[in-house]
């Protein structure tokens, strides 16, 4: 079904984990891209950084856990997540508290980073 070129794709996650279903939709798209062997990188910014916080008790609001989906990403060869440092700073979130392996990107690095991908999937 999917053959040929391997795209260098950036999945941009900008939604809070449980404010609507878009955060989940983005991660599902990421898994699909990984299953079909695309070169996928994930960047969390804006409200999306909340997806990376530990101790998500999503069952209490009858939702599947975003945190456990992120935990499963290494199985799909998505090993680390990029995070916009400015988004953390604005929300007073310490990078040390984030769950998964993260790589911080400063404001100066961001434009070049975004430019290095062929496609942006923005959720």
């Amino acid at each position: 079904m999917v053959s040929g070129t391997r795209r260098k794709i950036l999945l941009l996650c900008r939604r809070a984990p449980y404010a609507g279903y878009l955060a989940r939709a983005g991660l599902d798209a990421a898994l699909a891209a990984a299953v079909f062997e695309q070169d996928l990188t994930v960047l969390f910014m804006d409200e999306g950084i909340w997806q990376l916080l530990p101790d998500q008790h999503s069952a209490e609001i009858e939702c599947k856990s975003i945190a456990s989906t992120l935990d499963s990403m290494p199985l799909y060869d998505i090993e680390s997540f990029y995070v916009d440092a400015e988004s953390l700073r604005l929300r007073d979130v310490d990078a040390k508290t984030l769950t998964s392996k993260t790589i911080l990107l400063g404001a100066a690095e961001l434009p070049g980073f975004l430019d290095s991908f062929e496609q942006l999937w923005s959720f």
Partner: protein, 130 residues
């Protein structure tokens, strides 16, 4: 240029889906090839054949169908998003023993693999957010 769109917005909840349609229309008009429009998340409501807009409103389902007819673009609804929102084709309606199908004939239902395929086979993939 070969172009595909990823549409996330419901037809009546924001202007994003309208922007997607106008973009697609302009791209086709400018001579670009529209390969596929992948409707994901709330955007799958675009594929409902049961939608009846008010007489003084634009029929947003019909105009995608007409654009696809003119441009040759494939209109794909994400299967997981569509089923839970009650947009079913004949196969799915039979599989899940629902009394009727609800998909407009201009649309097809497929998996997220078709989004990846659109990504691979298009020069550009544009997201229109939800």
């Amino acid at each position: 240029m070969k172009i595909s769109l990823l549409v996330l917005a419901s037809p009546y909840a924001s202007q994003s889906a309208d922007t997607a349609w106008h973009y697609a229309q302009a791209a086709a008009h400018a001579g670009h090839e529209l390969y596929r429009v992948f409707f994901y998340h709330e955007a799958v409501y675009h594929g409902s054949r049961l939608s009846v807009p008010a007489q003084d409103e634009i029929d947003r389902v019909q105009r995608w169908a007409e654009l696809a007819e003119r441009s040759g673009a494939e209109l794909v609804l994400c299967v997981a998003s569509a089923l839970k929102r009650g947009i079913l084709d004949d196969t799915e309606a039979n599989r899940y023993e629902r009394g009727a199908h609800s998909i407009h004939p201009a649309f097809v239902i497929a998996g997220l693999g078709q989004l990846v395929d659109a990504s691979v086979h298009s020069d550009r993939l544009l997201t229109f957010g939800g």
